[in-house]
Structure formats: structure tokens, C-alpha cells
């Protein structure tokens, strides 16, 4: 047994910062981010579940449609197209992307604590803020590509398996016509236009339509109580209808435009980023995963649709401060608003179904949520007993 004698140890005594370590710095190192990424990526069960939800569901849906169309093209329409795109983006990718990201954020925010690793990390002397911030790029490095993969699959199918003719109000119409072209086409198909296209206004001849969408007694004949209608009058009426319907027609496409796909992609990614950051902060605050995941799902699929539409006079500002409501106002033009309704060229902007909110306010709300939850999560991590 050795006799204890106070002595300076022979091992290295160089201060950490002297070696360029910057251990107290709040900025995480690349190695910290990389190992945190590895830790999340290696959660096989979680990763499989996230991939199934975010990529598997739209893929299976599209594959079934492709097969059905290949087998029975007259019964089943093309797998892709503009309508499928808007439906999948708003109803599936937007919602599931958020839930997937929130689940990963909640995992990243809680597992160090629940699995006992947090204590080891704190004992390294590394800034707790740096430990927290390292999770953000690491998690986003998983979430962003995952959401992008699902979105690219949807875009690919919707573009390459789009219908060759536009279906406008149940009628096949050539796509991409100019106003004059649309009117010319209408003049050449008066029966279809007069019988099938919506019209709200005066000036149409009173002609009956048959069950197959053709005008009865149109060729100068005269039925009971009906005036004679000439082909020229029918053509003029069709052009009148086409003129009124052109705005609606021009918002329908065979497949989404490049511009819409880019804007939709960014919008869905932003929603996923919000889901991850809020989930991370909430889980770090609560110190567990299950409850935050449930809360995030409730926020996304119950609270947000309710609060974005129910106009409660005394709570309007509170409703406006919900991130999902703000995101609904940023819905790209041409997409329906999540939860049904809306759509059209304006997207969420100025949508009468939504609680009114300016774009500036919506952007500020989103920034506040991102910053606020990051601050809360980091604060809890820095003050928590390990």
C-alpha cells in the first residue's frame, strides 16, 4: 500500500482550452453533430416506422393506382396528375411529415436523459447548450431528406403518370389553353360546354340537355315553350360560359408546375422543421418522449384544424399564434388548405375559411415558435439535474 502524498500528477495538466478544445463554447463541433446523427440513425425501429409513414404510405397509394390504371385504364384513372398531387401533399406529406419530424425531435430531446447518457455527456465538461444545439442539425439531417424523399416520389409519379387530358368538371379538355384557345375550343364543343360547365349569369338560351350531355332539339327545332336556337347562338353561349370559367380552368393542370412543386416542397419541409424543433424543445422540457409525441399529434391533427377555422372572437389573437394556423396561411397557391377547403391560386393567403392573419404575422409566429421552443428546451437542459 502506498503512502498518500500530495503531489502534482505526472499526467498531462494542459488546460483543455489551451489545446483549442473550446469545451465551454455553446457551438457544437462537427464530431458532436455526426455522432448525434449516428445515434438517431441507428434507432432501427424508429427509422423504419418513420420511413413507412412518410415514404411508405404515399408510395403504396401511388403503386396501387399505377397498377390499377395499368390493369383497367377505363375504370381507373392515371396514378398521377394535379389533383393527386395536391391531395397527397396537403393530406399526407404535410401532416405525416410533421408527425415524423416531431417524433424524431421528441426522441432526440429525451433519450439521453432516459437512457442515462446525459450524465456521461455532462461529465465531459462540454457546454450543455452545445450538447442541445448539436441535436438540431443532426436531427434535421434525417428529417429533411426523409420528407424530401417522400415528396420526390409523389412529384415524380404525379408528373410522369399524369393524365394526357385535363378533366374539367367531368369533361376532358385540352390542358394549357390560352383564354382565346379555350373560347375557341368551347365554340367547337357547345353541347359539352353548355350542358356540363358551370355558369352563373344571364344570356344563355333555354335549351334542354340530354342524359349524355348533348342538347336536345338544338338544330332549329322548336319544342313546347321553347324558342328556336341557332348553332351560332349555341356557339356564342358556349364562348360566354368559357369566358367566365377560364379562371377556374386555368388553375387546373395536368400536373403541378415546377414552381408549385418547389414552393410546396419548401412549405412541407418548413412544417417538418417546425415539428422537429418544437418536439425537441418540448421533450427536453418534459424529460420524456411519449407525452410530447402525443401532444404534438394532438396539436397537428386536432387543435390546428379547429383553431384555424373556428372564429372565437375573444381568442382570435391566441388562434393566430398557433403555428399550424400560421402555416396554413403560407399554403402555396394552388394547394388546398390542410383540413379541407380553400385552394385556388391564393392558397392559404386570404383564404376566407381561415382565421384572418397577415403573412407578416404568420412568419413572426413561426419564428417565435422555433426560437421559443429552442430556448425553452436548451434552458431546461442547462438547468436540469443530471
Amino acid at each position: 500500500m502506498r503512502t498518500p502524498s500530495p503531489a502534482t500528477a505526472s499526467v498531462a495538466t494542459v488546460p483543455a482550452d489551451a489545446a483549442g478544445d473550446h469545451r465551454g463554447s455553446p457551438i457544437p463541433t462537427g464530431a458532436m453533430i455526426a455522432t448525434r446523427f449516428m445515434e438517431l440513425r441507428k434507432r432501427r425501429g424508429l427509422m423504419i416506422a418513420l420511413i413507412l409513414v412518410n415514404i411508405g404510405i404515399p408510395t403504396v397509394f401511388l403503386v396501387v393506382r399505377l397498377l390499377a390504371h395499368a390493369i383497367a385504364p377505363k375504370s381507373y384513372g392515371p396514378a398521377g396528375g394535379y389533383d393527386i398531387y395536391t391531395g397527397l401533399c396537403t393530406g399526407v406529406l404535410y401532416v405525416f411529415g410533421f408527425i415524423v419530424a416531431a417524433t424524431l425531435g421528441c426522441t432526440a430531446g429525451s433519450v439521453d436523459l432516459t437512457e442515462g447518457m446525459f450524465r456521461h455527456l455532462v461529465v465531459t465538461g462540454r457546454s450543455r447548450l452545445a450538447l442541445y444545439l448539436a441535436r438540431i442539425p443532426a436531427g434535421l439531417a434525417i428529417v429533411v431528406p426523409l420528407v424530401a424523399a417522400g415528396f420526390i416520389i409523389v412529384c415524380s409519379v404525379c408528373v410522369f403518370a399524369a393524365p394526357t387530358r385535363l378533366n374539367y368538371d367531368g369533361t376532358n379538355v385540352p390542358a394549357g389553353l390560352s383564354r382565346a384557345g379555350f373560347e375557341t375550343w368551347a365554340g367547337n364543343h357547345p353541347d359539352t360546354v353548355i350542358c356540363d360547365f358551370p355558369y352563373n349569369g344571364p344570356g344563355l338560351p333555354n335549351v334542354p340537355c340530354g342524359p349524355n350531355g348533348t342538347i336536345i332539339n338544338a338544330q332549329g327545332s322548336q319544342g313546347p315553350g321553347q324558342a328556336t336556337v341557332t348553332p351560332a347562338q349555341l356557339k356564342a353561349a358556349a364562348i360566354l360560359i368559357a369566358r367566365q370559367d377560364y379562371t377556374n380552368y386555368s388553375s387546373d393542370f395536368l400536373y403541378p408546375s415546377d414552381s408549385l412543386m418547389i414552393r410546396t416542397g419548401l412549405w412541407i419541409e418548413l412544417e417538418a422543421v417546425i415539428g422537429f424543433i418544437v418536439g425537441l424543445g418540448l421533450a427536453s422540457l418534459l424529460g420524456q418522449r411519449t407525452v410530447p409525441v402525443i401532444l404534438m399529434i394532438v396539436l397537428e391533427i386536432i387543435l390546428t384544424p379547429l383553431l384555424s377555422r373556428a372564429r372565437i372572437a375573444h381568442l382570435l389573437n391566441l388562434q393566430r399564434s398557433v403555428v399550424g394556423v400560421a402555416m396554413a396561411h403560407l399554403t402555396p397557391g394552388g394547394l388546398p388548405v390542410f383540413g379541407g377547403g380553400g385552394g385556388g391560386p391564393g392558397g392559404g393567403q386570404g383564404n376566407p375559411l381561415l382565421v384572418p392573419e397577415s403573412i407578416t404575422w404568420a412568419v413572426l409566429v413561426i419564428i417565435a415558435w422555433l426560437v421559443g421552443w429552442t430556448v425553452l428546451g436548451a434552458w431546461r437542459m442547462m438547468t436540469r439535474d443530471a
Partner: protein, 324 residues
């Protein structure tokens, strides 16, 4: 007890003689004082045992030292760096296991160490292999931790300490879960770490292991450090025990009582068990023997029982536990 103040400046770090230094350190959980005004001085370059019964506040003190929880009062320093002021600098040279070592079960042992190495200096990554080899789990380094036994996780915990090339290791119950061979390995490793000039603070209730491993100890009870110093000096203050096999034990007892040397005597099946007050010289043993022989008692065996850390610990803690 030294009354040295904790150095407040960075430059004082190299001058500090103590690996761990606390003054008036206190930590409360509501009404319960888990760490009570602790004055602790751990010299550099030794193995230091931190002993106490369950619930005495051992782990809480370690958690306070490492910044895992905050102190309510007092000052402390690690390797001369005042903490929490220079906590990052201090912990850069510290490795620690606190409580049961737990890791990400879905990762391998090596991957867990990679996460910890990333939070340390870049050179820590190069120490992962040697650390795993040193603790004897290199062959299982690529297995998932969820498949590790408790003992293997303990070893991985020590490896996690070693990747920082620590000047000070604080090990909380490192023998837990280890089989006898593993305990022997751990003991040898601690001794070798000290031989390299490192300081090891070993918190344990395995008194035999501490006695075989450590140079100095502190006894903590109810949150307070009640004794500390080199083991040899502390045991020198323990009571002296004798075991005597003789004829006529009852008469022998009467003869010894008559000498008024203040011995506590118990008559048992093996003869007499005698406890002599602390500080008793060996001449008293010879005097007892002389009294018995002159009294006509046949002495078959007279043996001095070496005071062990365990017996001393029990003396100290039982005395503390007695009503005053």
C-alpha cells in the same frame, strides 16, 4: 483540517496540492441535508476511498462535484480549478462514473464511446481502442450495449472515463456487478492508474476492496465527513483487539479486570475477546500475559487482532449512530 481557500484564478491551478477540495459544501433536498458542510481534501496522485453507509450522501457529493446538480452552499475545486466557475476546464481532466453506468443500448460499446469522445477533445477518439483494451472488453466492443452484462457496462463506464486521459477519476461503486475476477482486475487497474500519477476517488461500501486499493479514505455519514486521512493513520487510532485462549476464562477475566487497564472483555467459546482503548501500547499486551501466567492461568494462544478498515468503519459509524 486545512483551512486553505479554494483558488479563484486560473493560474493557481498548477499550485494546488489537492485533486479535490471542498469547504462548507452543502446540498439540501427540501428538509433533507444530503451533503452537510463537507470539508474534503483529496491529495493528488493517490487512491482515495470515500466510504459511507447507504444513504450517507456519497453519490450526492460526487454529483455536486461534477456539476450534475448544484450546491446550496460552500466552495469546491477540482484539480485546482474552482467549480462551477471553471467547470469546463476542470472536467476536461476528469473522468467519472456516477451511479450505475448506463448507455444507449441500441449502440455498440465503441459507438457509445465515440459519442462521448466527440464531446471531448479530438484526441479522445484515438484513445477509444486502448481504453476498451485496458478494461478488457475490446473483443465485445462492437456488440450492442443492450447485450452487455452489468459487469461489462461497468467496464465500459471505466473506458468512458479513460478516453479523456483524466488526471482525476471519480468512480462511484465501480465494483458493482463485477465477479471476483472482475473485481481483482478493477483493483489492479485502479492501482495502475494511480501509478501513472492519476488520482482516483473511489466511492464504495465494499470496505475490504477500499482497504486493498486506497491509500487514504474519508468516512461520510449522514452527509458529513466524520473522519479522513491515510488509512494507516486512521487505523492507528482504532481500538486494539486481543484474542486469548486459556484455561479458566472466568478467573482470567477477573485477573485482567483487577489490573484496571480499561479493557473491555468478553468471554466466548474460544476464550477471551479483549478490546483495549485506542492508543494502547504493546506493553499492555505483555502485562496482560504476565498477570495471567502469574495467576496460574495456562495461556494457550494470545493473538493481536489487526484492526481492519471494516471494524474501524463499524466503530466509527456505530458510535455516530448511538444516541448522545
Amino acid at each position: 483540517m486545512s483551512t486553505a481557500t479554494v483558488p479563484d484564478t486560473f493560474d493557481q491551478q498548477t499550485e494546488s496540492r489537492w485533486a479535490v477540495e471542498t469547504h462548507g459544501l452543502t446540498k439540501r433536498f427540501g428538509e433533507n441535508v444530503a451533503v452537510n458542510n463537507v470539508e474534503l481534501l483529496v491529495p493528488r496522485g493517490c487512491a482515495f476511498g470515500y466510504l459511507g453507509p447507504n444513504g450517507a450522501g456519497k453519490t450526492t457529493l460526487i454529483r455536486v462535484l461534477l456539476g450534475l446538480t448544484h450546491a446550496d452552499a460552500g466552495t469546491m475545486s477540482l484539480l485546482g480549478y474552482p467549480v462551477p466557475k471553471h467547470r469546463d476546464l476542470a472536467l476536461a481532466r476528469v473522468g467519472a462514473i456516477v451511479d450505475e453506468p448506463r448507455f444507449h443500448g441500441h449502440l455498440t460499446g465503441r459507438q457509445n464511446l465515440q459519442i462521448l469522445a466527440a464531446a471531448r477533445e479530438p484526441a479522445a477518439r484515438d484513445r477509444i481502442g486502448p481504453a476498451l483494451e485496458r478494461v478488457g472488453i475490446l473483443q465485445r466492443a462492437n456488440d450492442k450495449v443492450s447485450k452487455y452484462s452489468m459487469g461489462m457496462r461497468q467496464r465500459l463506464g471505466v473506458a468512458a472515463c479513460l478516453i479523456g486521459d483524466p488526471e482525476l477519476l471519480i468512480l462511484d461503486e465501480p465494483m458493482n456487478g463485477l465477479d471476483p475476477a472482475g473485481m481483482a482486475d478493477m483493483r489492479e487497474m485502479i492501482i495502475s492508474l494511480v501509478a501513472e500519477g492519476r488520482t482516483v476517488v473511489l466511492s464504495s461500501h465494499l470496505l475490504d476492496e477500499v482497504e486493498r486499493t486506497c491509500d487514504a479514505v474519508a468516512i461520510v455519514d449522514r452527509g458529513k465527513v466524520v473522519r479522513q486521512g491515510p488509512i494507516s493513520e486512521l487505523l492507528a487510532g482504532a481500538t486494539l483487539a486481543l484474542q486469548i485462549e486459556c484455561s479458566e476464562p472466568d478467573r482470567a477475566r477477573s485477573l485482567i479486570d483487577a489490573t484496571r487497564i480499561g479493557a473491555h472483555i468478553e468471554v466466548g467459546s474460544l476464550g477471551l475477546g479483549i478490546s483495549l482503548p485506542a492508543g494502547t501500547t504493546r506493553d499492555v499486551i505483555a502485562e496482560i500475559n504476565r498477570v495471567l501466567v502469574e495467576g496460574g492461568i495456562s495461556v494457550y494462544r494470545l493473538q493481536e487482532i489487526q484492526a481492519s478498515l471494516e471494524s474501524w468503519f463499524l466503530q466509527v459509524t456505530s458510535r455516530l449512530g448511538a444516541p448522545e
